[in-house]
């Protein structure tokens, strides 16, 4: 490439770079810096406090509970929604013609916002008139306060998340399944391979790139998606269903402790960076890409 071409390339990139720097990189770096300062108070500007915020964080029981909640939330919802998505996709794939699936992929209602989904599930979970308790009532079982009971609040959120995520991920699996070569399955059929053998030895490995993509997305979503908390539990009762991002929100906008929110955000960024490294550095190596 000669000089003018290089200049040209940079000029073309410039708008995107400016946007990215202004709205992503700068705030991230500022947040990082902010986590080493305290809050400005009554005219006194914020001062450098070193690791003080992080020491506070280590002693914060709620932080540990929230982190623990979020870990559980991820450990359960990610594998469960992937398994459910794959099962549904394989089931649907055998019954739909190719073009129908492509259309479905475009017009799917799974792009439903999390807020809307949460409102639907609120109707399921409501103690007195909720669908779930009504169904339990038919069998003579006492209703459960799904969102109000500390033991059930987080599992209830997980169930909803699995439902929502599985529907979304199914579309990716469906598209990937459509792209697989039919003759591979015919070759396997001629060798008398059973359903499980075909899944284990052909479908699963060939879907690996898709699974990896979905896995990382699901994992990031487990930390990123908290819209439903606003509708369903607000992190309660007593932080039983609180998640990291919602806790950050609470600190920043309910308690106005921006320094601590920045500290929590730094922790969150570290977690997300680790997840990205997991994808590109570790998992990618063992996957067959076409």
């Amino acid at each position: 490439m000669n000089r003018t071409q290089q200049l040209h390339a940079w000029l073309l990139l410039l708008p995107a770079l400016v946007m990215l720097a202004a709205f992503t990189h700068t705030p991230a770096v500022q947040t990082l810096l902010h986590s080493f300062y305290d809050n400005p108070m009554g005219g006194k500007p914020s001062g450098f406090v070193g690791m003080e915020n992080f020491e506070l964080l280590l002693e914060d029981e709620i932080f540990w509970q929230v982190l623990w909640n979020n870990t559980w939330y991820g450990l359960v919802t990610v594998p469960a929604s992937i398994a459910l998505a794959l099962t549904m996709a394989i089931w649907v794939n055998g019954r739909l013609e190719g073009r129908a699936i492509v259309r479905l992929a475009y017009f799917t209602p799974t792009v439903l916002p999390m807020i809307a989904v949460a409102n639907i599930w609120l109707f399921f979970y409501t103690p007195e008139i909720g669908l779930l308790n009504n169904v339990l009532g038919w069998f003579g079982i006492d209703g459960i306060n799904w969102l109000g009971d500390p033991d059930f609040a987080l599992p209830s959120l997980m169930a909803m998340t699995i439902w929502k995520e599985a529907g979304f991920f199914m579309i990716f699996y469906l598209a990937a399944l459509q792209g697989l070569d039919r003759s591979l399955y015919e070759a396997a059929a001629i060798e008398n391979a059973g359903r499980w053998q075909v899944f284990q030895r052909i479908t699963w490995p060939l879907l690996m790139p898709t699974t990896l993509f979905i896995f990382i997305n699901a994992l990031i979503n487990a930390f990123k998606l908290v819209d439903h908390l606003f509708i369903l539990t607000k992190g309660g009762p007593n932080n039983a269903s609180n998640l990291l991002l919602y806790y950050i929100y609470e600190n920043a906008f309910s308690f106005f402790d921006t320094a601590y929110a920045a500290t929590l955000t730094t922790v969150m960024l570290i977690i997300l960076a680790l997840l990205a490294w997991l994808q590109f550095g570790v998992l990618d190596k063992g996957v067959h890409y076409r």
Binding site: D181, S183, L184, E186, A187, A188, A189, I190, E191, N192, A193, G194, Q197, R201, I202, P205, L206, M208, H288, R290
Partner: protein, 351 residues
């Protein structure tokens, strides 16, 4: 031992049926080609035999056992796909062993057969590569190895060489035939390439629009084409067909000879040169004989001016005759009565 017998097989997705009234047998150790133009129902027929497509009616027997409704895996046959259908995420070794592993063949037996097959198709140095790292010819060998290692009674092949370049295709042709003979394999081989069928097969089943046009040894199809379709499909360039009254007269381009002018041969005809195609070993000449277009093949490099005239003739035994309406071959006896049609025109010339 293994004998395939097909009776009244039919499959239709609409009108006309993709395959209809298919009746043939493949004897043990025989190499039979299913030949025909694209879309004539070759793959459909093969896939019904493999169990990948359910026939509308008819019966399939392998060694006198009816397999018409068995699942593909229970038919004891192997198949080589046009696209090879190699598993892209598995190594060559795993691809070849896939069937044996699935069928839970013992490890020692797997090893023994693998060594034998690898030797046979010369893949020794590629065992740990993935299909994506192989050339077309090597992929072809893996697909072949996968079929051979199963030691199935019948091996079905659907245009296995069509994705290779011309040179490699010719090589693989003789290699495949040698392999089949050495192992005594029973093969049903689908192709649209008449050269491939002629050079490899013990017998050819010629298909046209879902129906069998002719079954026979390659020389039978060449020497006694049963229909005008067979006459034109077998041989390159195709047989010249001259329509006269209620007959169609056929002469192969390679059977037309040049005659010295003025030799006074009774059965010679004068034709006008329209063009020449030099093919290397021989030359293809387009001729105009009265209102008919003919092709003539002669050895060597012949330069003939368009517009110049030639004296041509052909031997009586090289002339074929077909019914104009049905396209069916007219038997030699019937020909005797009518005698050769084209000599009539000759008299008109001599006058």
């Amino acid at each position: 031992m293994s004998r395939l017998s097909i009776q009244k097989l039919r499959k239709s997705w609409g009108d006309p049926p993709a395959a209809d009234d298919i009746d043939f047998t493949v004897e043990s150790g025989e190499f039979v080609a299913l030949l025909g133009p694209s879309g004539c129902g070759k793959s459909t027929t093969l896939r019904m035999i493999a169990g990948l497509e359910a026939p509308d009616s008819g019966h399939i027997y392998l060694n006198d056992k009816e397999i018409t409704h068995l699942s593909p895996g229970k038919r004891d046959l192997a198949m080589v796909f046009q696209s090879y259908a190699l598993f892209p995420h598995l190594s060559v070794r795993e691809n070849i062993l896939f069937g044996l592993q699935v069928r839970k063949v013992s490890k020692e037996e797997q090893k023994r057969r693998l060594n034998f097959v690898i030797e046979l198709v010369d893949l020794g140095s590629h065992l740990h590569k993935k299909p994506g790292q192989l050339s077309g010819g090597q992929c072809q060998r893996v697909a072949l190895a996968r079929a051979v290692i199963s030691e199935a009674r019948l091996c079905l092949m659907d245009e296995p060489l069509s994705n290779l370049d011309a040179k490699l295709r010719a090589e693989m042709r003789s290699e495949l035939r040698a392999l089949q003979q050495r192992l005594g394999m029973t093969v049903l081989y689908v192709t649209h390439d008449q050269t491939e069928a002629m050079s490899m097969a013990d017998r050819i089943i010629l298909l046209n629009r879902g129906r069998i046009e002719q079954i026979g040894r390659p020389e039978e199809l060449y020497n006694q084409p049963a229909t005008t379709f067979a006459a034109q499909f077998i041989g390159a360039p195709p047989m010249n067909l001259i329509r006269i009254e209620n007959r169609v007269l056929g002469v192969r381009p390679e059977h037309i000879q040049l005659v010295q002018p003025g030799m006074g041969l009774k059965s010679s005809h004068r034709a006008v040169v329209k063009g020449c195609d030099y093919l290397g070993a021989d030359t293809l000449i387009q001729l105009q004989l009265d209102e008919h277009s003919l092709q003539l093949r002669i050895t060597g490099h012949q330069k003939l001016q368009p517009g110049s005239s030639l004296e041509i003739s052909w031997a009586e035994q090289d002339q074929h005759s077909f019914c104009r309406t049905s396209g069916q071959r007219v038997a030699a006896d019937a020909l005797q009565e009518q005698h050769i049609e084209y000599t009539k025109k000759e008299t008109h010339y001599a006058a």
